[in-house]
């Protein structure tokens, strides 16, 4: 009997250790845009995230990590379906990856309501930062308005009195112009919302010329930005009426496609590949070696999303099922962001510096160069509306 008892104890102990060794891996689901217009953004985010994962031997925070990536093709229906599958079928612990605010608005509330953590590596719609904020939602990039707010300040500092504004007709477009106008003190010469995914801007450019502004502020990410900048330059306007925008309108992908046309323009960003800090120098070198191109701000955000998770998973020793502890660990944001100083505000959105970059020639290529800082420790305007 005694033998039997000790045998049972040994077996129980064995069972438990076996159980601990084969502990469920941390499951991370990434929903992002990998095909169609705007694929460049999602691919950058994924590549940034995967780089961090690879550097850690496929583990985050020392825990086995299962990483699932699914393409949403920038379609709301797709994103919702994928999210449902990830929550119900794959039973992921964390969802991340969405590029576009209209998709984020459709997906994020259902993810957080299901008790999962959502880490946004890009979209930061105002609603999710304010009244609809959620304790399970973290944005590691920016609140949508932030980079536009910085440009509003910069354009005002440059002394422009009449600026023409342009953005796509979707939540981030509205946030963009609201953010710009929050810090811009001059007159608005015109305000235009264009179709998401629009290719031809001839009509808008003709109206813009007729309005005779001093400068143009435009938020057109991905292919839309390429279309607009090419056509704006061809209309002979770039030397007459300078272009200003957030980094989304001048990321490395866009600059590669528009080339010389963008040289001499300014844009605002929380990140630049020439930011001078140790984490960033290592990141840029590793990214260029892995993918053969300079990291864009999107790539840096994907990388930081992985770093944030890495730090939090390590703090809870891989036990992400203890969601309260995991959430606290995320809130601490105890990682070396490639953008330098980084912390979360009360609504889980970044408090960070925002810089201005100039587009310059660099040998045969065209790239962004850091030229100054607009805001230090900048927080978003919606935190006060967030009751967590």
């Amino acid at each position: 009997m005694k033998n039997f008892r000790s045998l049972a104890a040994v077996m129980a102990a064995l069972f438990m250790t076996a159980n601990a060794a084969s502990a469920e891996p941390v499951k991370i689901g990434m929903i992002t845009t990998l095909s169609g217009g705007g694929a460049g953004l999602g691919i950058d985010i994924r590549d940034g995230f995967e780089l961090a994962l690879k550097q850690r031997g496929g583990k985050l925070g020392g825990a086995e990590t299962e990483f699932i990536v699914v393409d949403d093709a920038r379609k709301v229906e797709n994103a919702k379906q994928i999210a449902t599958r990830m929550i119900k079928q794959d039973d992921v612990d964390v969802v991340t990856g969405i590029v576009w605010s209209n998709l984020a608005m459709a997906v994020v509330p259902s993810v957080t309501r299901a008790g999962k953590i959502y880490i946004s590596p890009n979209a930061g719609p105002s609603a999710l930062a304010g009244a609809k904020c959620h304790e399970n939602y973290f944005n590691v990039a920016w609140q949508n308005d932030n980079l536009h707010e910085a440009m509003g300040q910069f354009v005002t500092d440059q002394g422009f009195k009449s600026v023409y504004l342009m953005a796509p007709n979707y939540p981030a477009g509205k946030d963009a112009l609201a953010g710009f106008k929050r810090f811009y003190k001059g007159a608005v010469a015109g305000e235009v919302y264009t179709k998401l995914g629009q290719t031809d801007y001839a009509a808008e450019i003709a109206n813009l010329r007729a309005a005779e502004p001093d400068a143009v502020f435009f938020f057109l990410p991905g292919g839309m930005g390429i279309n607009f900048v090419k056509q704006y330059a061809q209309a002979g306007l770039i030397s007459e009426t300078p272009l200003y925008g957030p980094a989304f309108s001048f990321d490395e992908g866009i600059l590669k496609a528009v080339g010389e046309a963008a040289v001499g323009t300014f844009n605002t960003s929380q990140y630049s590949h020439d930011l001078d800090n140790d984490a960033n120098r290592a990141f840029v070198a590793a990214f260029m070696e892995a993918y053969g191109r300079k990291p864009s701000l999107y790539a840096s955000q994907g990388y930081d999303a992985a770093l944030l998770l890495d730090s939090a998973i390590a703090k809870v020793n891989g036990n992400v099922d203890d969601i309260d502890a995991f959430r606290e660990a995320l809130r601490a944001a105890d990682f070396a962001s490639v953008r330098g100083a980084f912390k979360f505000g009360p609504n889980h959105h970044p408090i960070q510096d925002i810089y201005v970059r100039e587009v310059v020639r660099d040998g045969d290529t065209v790239t962004n160069k850091l030229v100054g800082k607009v805001f230090t420790d900048h927080a978003d305007a919606y935190a006060a509306d967030c009751k967590m």
Partner: protein, 307 residues
């Protein structure tokens, strides 16, 4: 709003219409004559743009680039016809939609493998890079004028092909009396391959023309494809003349909508609401146009050759 701005917007509408015509002409021929719904028409446009950009970069000559792009799109089209679409002529439209959607995915992936996921750079040729003052105080991009010229030339050429040549005669006859043409000893299969090749080359030309002006990226064909379908439905399926009229109508209505609707809305609503309402309505104007045309003429403005 001034008269000059109105005229400039009209010119913009014409230019957009011409671009759409290049796409629609090929699609309507294939749809009308071969009764094939080809969603992959946009992929041929993408092939035209990518090959033109690469060949222009390699040779340093825009004309060589365009020729390469058009030929590559034609070759890709014929290849797809021989390998895949030929089996679909007798099937119903749903099968064709499914199969050609598969062709889109294949082309998108292949493009990503060959050229990578990021948009390609393509410079505008120096001779076409400036602006020309077409109206007092309106410097118009020379390249857009060039597209209008190319489009008009294609118009004239297609008309000549369809009205005056033996191939054109067979195309017209094949559209309406397919069995009879076959019974008279014409090789219908080869005729269809020719028609498809011509359509593919036109799509390639549209892509080549778009290259210097638009983002050359994977999936660029899908956004223009939807507009192209609207064009051929308005114009009447199978009619090249209908495609021209439909394309110009869509181009002008879309441009006017984007240019003037927000201004009109501002006179009745407060500015913030007007901008977003105007933008929302202007993104659907062409669909409203299509609905109105279909109520008035359920088979489109021009019915294909007696059909």
């Amino acid at each position: 709003m001034t008269l000059v701005l109105f005229l400039e917007q009209t010119l913009n509408g014409l230019q957009l219409g011409i671009m759409l015509f290049l796409m629609a002409a090929g699609l309507t021929l294939v749809f009308g004559i071969m009764h094939l719904i080809n969603l992959a028409h946009g992929s041929l446009y993408m092939v035209g743009a990518y090959v033109t950009a690469s060949a222009t970069m390699a040779s340093g000559n825009f004309a060589i680039g365009v020729a390469a792009g058009v030929l590559a799109a034609g070759a890709a089209g014929i290849l797809v016809e021989l390998l895949a679409l030929r089996r679909l002529y007798g099937r119903d439209h749903l099968d064709q939609v499914l199969a050609t959607f598969g062709v889109i995915l294949t082309f998108n992936e292949l493009t990503k493998i060959v050229w990578g996921p990021h948009a390609l750079f393509m410079a505008i040729p120096d001779t076409l890079s400036g602006t020309i003052e077409v109206l007092p105080g309106v410097p118009y991009p020379a390249y857009r004028l060039f597209i209008i010229g190319v489009g008009l030339m294609v118009c004239v050429g297609l008309r000549h092909l369809i009205v005056n040549t033996r191939l054109g005669m067979l195309i017209r006859a094949g559209a309406t009396h397919r069995e009879m043409v076959g019974a008279l000893g014409v090789n219908i299969d080869r005729l269809f391959t020719w028609v498809f090749g011509i359509g593919a080359m036109l799509a390639g030309l549209a892509g080549a023309m778009a290259g210097p002006m638009l983002a050359i990226e994977v999936g660029m064909g899908e956004s223009i494809l939807i507009l192209t379908f609207v064009v051929i439905i308005i114009g009447g399926i199978g009619s090249v003349r209908g495609a021209l009229v439909g394309a110009l109508l869509v181009g002008i209505v879309d441009t006017y909508g984007r240019a003037f609707l927000p201004l009109i809305m501002r006179s009745v609503l407060d500015p913030a609401a007007a901008d977003s309402v105007g933008a929302s309505i202007s993104s659907v104007t062409i669909y409203l146009l299509m609905a109105m045309v279909l109520i008035w003429r359920p088979r489109g403005l021009f019915q294909a050759y007696g059909g």
